[in-house]
Symmetry: C2
Subunit: 185 residues, 2 copies
């Protein structure tokens, strides 16, 4: 992949998670890269193509993450997972799923499909971590593993959004609460 193509994806990712899908334009990207907007259209004919590429980039990143944390214990895996959102929140962004969910009815079907794949990968992984933790006794929680996984994802996702409004403190307390909840009593 050319460096320009990679840069476009990186900038688009940043803009989507900072300002929302409908608030960024090819012009924003082209100005930042000192090229013309047609150059962006050369690499990604339509905005939807770019949107799909951004999600694919995230799928790659999460698959790499899953491999990286594989040797860790279940509580450590959860903590590493929450640390991703820590970074998102520190950089005053929100998570990709959150932004695109609120723009859902305005995004192309191809983007919707890719996002569903992304959420499925993350959801399945965290569910398996919950299952393992329950079996080994390293994690304690009520309800089934899938629901617990969804509860963690939704909480931390919205906590990053809430931090935009109420500041970092609200994020940190929610993050710690999720962690405490899972600890053995």
């Amino acid at each position: 992949m050319t460096s320009t193509k990679e840069s476009i994806i990186n900038i688009a990712d940043d803009l989507i998670r900072r300002r929302g899908y409908n608030a960024f334009s090819y012009n924003d990207i082209s100005k930042m890269l000192f090229v013309k907007n047609a150059a962006i259209h050369y690499h990604f004919p339509s905005k939807s193509d770019l949107g799909v590429a951004v999600i694919e980039f995230h799928i790659q990143k999460v698959e790499h993450f899953i491999k990286r944390v594989a040797p860790l214990s279940e509580p450590e895996k959860v903590e590493e997972f929450l640390n991703i959102y820590d970074q998102i929140q520190t950089n005053k962004k929100v998570c990709l799923v959150g932004t695109l969910a609120t723009d859902w009815d305005t995004i192309d079907e191809k983007i919707q499909q890719k996002l569903t794949v992304f959420v499925t990968i993350v959801g399945d992984w965290l569910t398996s971590v919950m299952e393992e933790g329950l079996k080994k006794g390293t994690l304690t929680f009520k309800g089934d593993p899938r629901t617990r996984a969804m509860l963690i994802i939704t909480s931390i996702m919205a906590a990053a959004q809430m931090a935009k409004i109420m500041g970092s403190e609200s994020f940190k307390s929610v993050k710690n609460a999720i962690l405490n909840e899972l600890n053995r009593r």
Copy 2:
């Protein structure tokens, strides 16, 4: 207030929570009301004015809600609160806070301020419900009341967003998990 002005707020509210703040225009509203876009500008000179009015409308609604549920028990109050999101999710919308949080960096400072007020009202109310529930023993949870309140708000808010991607089932399981968590063991 004129019926047109009320209609504009209602339609804007619907569009914001269905498509996002940056994906709706005065033209969308004017077409639905069979008036010209200048008519919308007559009632709300700028889009920010309309945005502020929509949040004020929500503040009114939540203040009415708080009065309505005042005689109920704490578990009932929480359940009624979650039922609001049930309706949001059924109508394939998301909550106002969620959408505007993801668009935060693109919205006017006046809208940001009003949204902070709205979140503070809801947060303070749910915190007081948590405090009461803890004191009376009608609610069981770990951690402090404010954090628990934020955890409930973030979970249910993001669950409505997640439902857009993964369907109603994910919402229902998260909602039930929140309720189960608070029940006396």
